[in-house]
C-alpha cells in the first residue's frame, strides 16, 4: 500500500514537472522559430521608422543603464545601512518589510506611480520617467541583495578590520564589501536582467519612439514597449519584427542570467 502511494505521488509530481516544462519549451521553441526566421542584419542597422530595431535596443539599454546608475547607489546605501549600521532596530525591520513588499508590487503600479509624480507634472512622457520607474523597480532587489550578501560576511572579519585600527566606514568599504563582492555583483546582474525585460513600467512613462534619440526629455525608444505595440499591428511584417525583438531580448536576458550563475560558480 505504501509502495503504491509512493508510486502515485512520484507519478503526479513528475507529471506536474513535465507539464510545466512543456509550456516553457513551447514558449521557447515558438519564440526561437518565429524569432530566428524574422532575424536579419537589417534589424540591427535600422531604426523602427525603417522597420529596424536599432534605436530600440539602444534606447532600452540606456533606460536600464540610467536605472542602474540611479537605483544601485541608493539601494546599496540602504542595504549597507540595514546590515552595518541599524543593529536590527525597529526602523530597520520596518524598512526591510517595506522593501520586501515593494519587491512584489506589480510593475504596472510603479509605472502608474511614476506617471503621477513625473509624467503628469512635466506634461508629457519622457525617458527620465521610464528610467526612474525602472530604478524604483530594481531598488528593493538591490537593497535585499546587498543586505543579504553583507550579512553572509562573518562578523569576525568586521572585528578584525576594527582591531587593526580601521574606522568603521573603511572596514565596510575596504573589507566587507570586497568580501561580499561576488554575491552583490550577481545580485546586481540579476536585477539588471529583471528590469531590462520590463514593459509595464515604461508603457506610460517613457513611451516609445520611432527614431534614434539620446534626448531623455522626450519619449524614448524602448524595445519592450515596441514589441507590445508591434505585436498588435495588423501588418504581418511588423508582427514578425516583434517576434525577432522578443527573441533577441530573451537571449540577452538568458546570457545575463547565465553570466550571473557563472560568476557565482567561479567563486566556489
Amino acid at each position: 500500500m505504501r509502495l503504491l502511494i509512493n508510486k502515485i505521488v512520484l507519478f503526479l509530481s513528475t507529471l506536474a514537472a513535465v507539464l510545466g516544462l512543456i509550456f516553457l519549451f513551447w514558449i521557447l521553441i515558438t519564440l526561437t522559430i518565429k524569432g530566428v526566421s524574422a532575424l536579419s542584419i537589417h534589424l540591427f542597422t535600422n531604426d523602427l521608422v525603417n522597420n529596424g530595431l536599432r534605436n530600440l535596443f539602444i534606447g532600452q539599454f540606456i533606460l536600464a543603464l540610467i536605472a542602474v546608475i540611479l537605483g544601485v547607489p541608493i539601494g546599496m546605501a540602504a542595504g549597507i545601512y540595514l546590515q552595518e549600521y541599524s543593529f536590527n532596530n525597529k526602523f530597520a525591520s520596518f524598512i526591510r518589510n517595506l522593501s520586501d513588499v515593494m519587491m512584489s508590487a506589480p510593475s504596472i503600479v510603479i509605472g502608474t506611480f511614476v506617471y503621477a509624480i513625473v509624467v503628469n507634472p512635466v506634461g508629457h512622457m519622457n525617458g527620465w520617467a521610464g528610467a526612474i520607474a525602472l530604478a524604483i523597480l530594481m531598488l528593493p532587489i538591490v537593497v535585499r541583495t546587498t543586505d543579504d550578501m553583507l550579512g553572509l560576511v562573518p562578523k569576525e572579519l568586521r572585528e578584525a578590520g576594527v582591531a587593526i585600527g580601521a574606522p568603521k566606514y573603511k572596514v565596510i568599504f575596504n573589507i566587507i564589501i570586497k568580501a561580499a563582492k561576488v554575491g552583490i555583483m550577481t545580485g546586481l546582474l540579476l536585477a539588471f536582467a529583471r528590469i531590462i525585460g520590463e514593459t509595464a513600467p515604461l508603457l506610460f512613462t517613457s513611451g516609445n519612439s520611432q527614431y534614434f534619440t539620446l534626448n531623455l526629455n522626450q519619449e524614448f525608444p524602448s524595445l519592450t514597449v515596441a514589441i507590445y505595440t508591434l505585436a498588435t499591428m495588423p501588418d504581418k511584417h511588423l508582427v514578425e519584427i516583434a517576434w525577432a525583438g522578443a527573441f533577441i531580448l530573451t537571449v540577452f536576458v538568458l546570457i545575463i542570467n547565465l553570466l550571473g550563475r557563472y560568476i557565482t560558480k567561479e567563486k566556489k
Partner: protein, 261 residues
C-alpha cells in the same frame, strides 16, 4: 617588572543582560610576558580579552565599569582606556593593542595588501618603506619564506595555519604594545599550532601577549602568568608554574586536573 596593562575592579555587562558577565576582575598584564587566560567555556575569558581593545564597542549597549589601564609609551603613565570616547582614541587604542581571532581572518585582498593595510591606516605611504615593513612583519611571523614569491596572490588562498600567521604578521606590522590572542590555535592542525606557539615565544621580546586558550598544555607551555577564570570571576592568578604545580584554590586545582571544564 612593569605592568603594561592593569585591570582594576572591572565589570562588564552585555547589552540587555540582567547581570554582569565579568565581576570584579583585578589582573595585571606584565610587559614582555605572556599571560594566559584559562577556564571552562562561558567563564568570561574571551569577554575579558575583548574588553582590552574595546572591540565590544562594535555592538551597542555593552557596558564597562571599573578601570582598564594602559601604559602611555611617552609619559609612562597609566591611562584608563574605558574613558576613551572619540573614534580617534579607539582607533589609536587598537593600533596599540592588536588582536588575533580564533578563526583566521585574512582580508579579501592580496597577501601584501593584508599586511600593509594597517600601516597605510597609520598614514605610511612611502612605497619602499611599506615594502620593507611588510617583509619584516612576514619574517617575524615566520611566513616570509612560504609567501615571498606570491605576495600579490589572494590571502584567502593560503592554508589555515598560514592565514593565522598572516594575521599575526598583519597585527605586528603596526608595532602594537600588546597583542591579544583569542584561542588562536583552536581551529588549526597540530603542526600549525606548534608554529604559532613558537611564534608567541619569539614575539614576546617585542610585544606583550595576552592569550585565551582552552588547551591547558598550551597555557603551561607558552605562558609566564596564568589567570584562571570561572563564572565571570577571576579565581586565581599567578605565575604559570605556581598555578599549574601549586594552585591555592581548589577550583583551580580541579580544573587543571580535568575534573570539570
Amino acid at each position: 617588572m612593569n605592568k603594561v596593562m592593569d585591570i582594576k575592579n572591572f565589570y562588564f555587562t552585555y547589552a540587555k543582560a540582567p547581570k554582569p558577565s565579568l565581576k570584579n576582575i583585578n589582573l595585571p598584564i606584565y610587559e614582555n610576558k605572556v599571560t594566559a587566560l584559562i577556564g571552562p567555556s562561558g567563564c568570561g575569558k574571551s569577554t575579558l580579552l575583548r574588553s582590552l581593545n574595546r572591540i565590544h564597542d562594535l555592538y551597542p549597549g555593552n557596558k564597562y565599569e571599573g578601570e582598564v589601564l594602559l601604559k602611555d609609551l611617552k609619559t609612562e603613565e597609566m591611562e584608563n582606556i574605558l574613558e576613551y570616547k572619540k573614534e580617534n582614541e579607539l582607533i589609536n587604542l587598537r593600533q596599540r593593542v592588536g588582536m588575533i581571532f580564533q578563526k583566521p581572518t585574512p582580508f579579501p585582498m592580496s597577501i601584501y595588501d593584508n599586511i600593509s593595510y594597517g600601516l597605510k591606516l597609520m598614514g605610511k605611504k612611502n612605497k619602499s618603506e611599506l615594502e620593507d615593513k611588510v617583509e619584516e612583519a612576514l619574517k617575524d611571523a615566520a611566513l616570509w619564506e612560504e609567501v615571498k614569491d606570491r605576495l600579490k596572490d589572494d590571502a584567502r588562498g593560503l592554508s589555515g595555519g598560514q592565514q593565522q600567521r598572516l594575521c599575526i604578521a598583519r597585527a605586528i606590522a603596526v608595532e602594537p604594545e600588546v597583542l591579544l590572542m583569542d584561542e588562536p590555535t583552536s581551529a588549526l592542525d597540530p603542526i600549525s599550532t606548534i608554529a604559532i606557539e613558537e611564534l608567541v615565544a619569539k614575539l614576546k621580546d617585542r610585544v606583550t601577549i595576552a592569550i585565551v586558550t582552552h588547551n591547558m598544555q598550551q597555557a603551561s607551555r607558552i605562558s609566564d602568568y596564568t589567570a584562571f577564570m570561572y563564572l565571570g570571576e577571576l579565581i586565581e592568578y599567578g605565575s604559570t608554574e605556581q598555578i599549574f604545580l601549586n594552585p591555592k584554590e581548589k577550583r583551580t586545582a580541579d580544573y587543571i586536573a580535568g575534573k570539570f571544564g
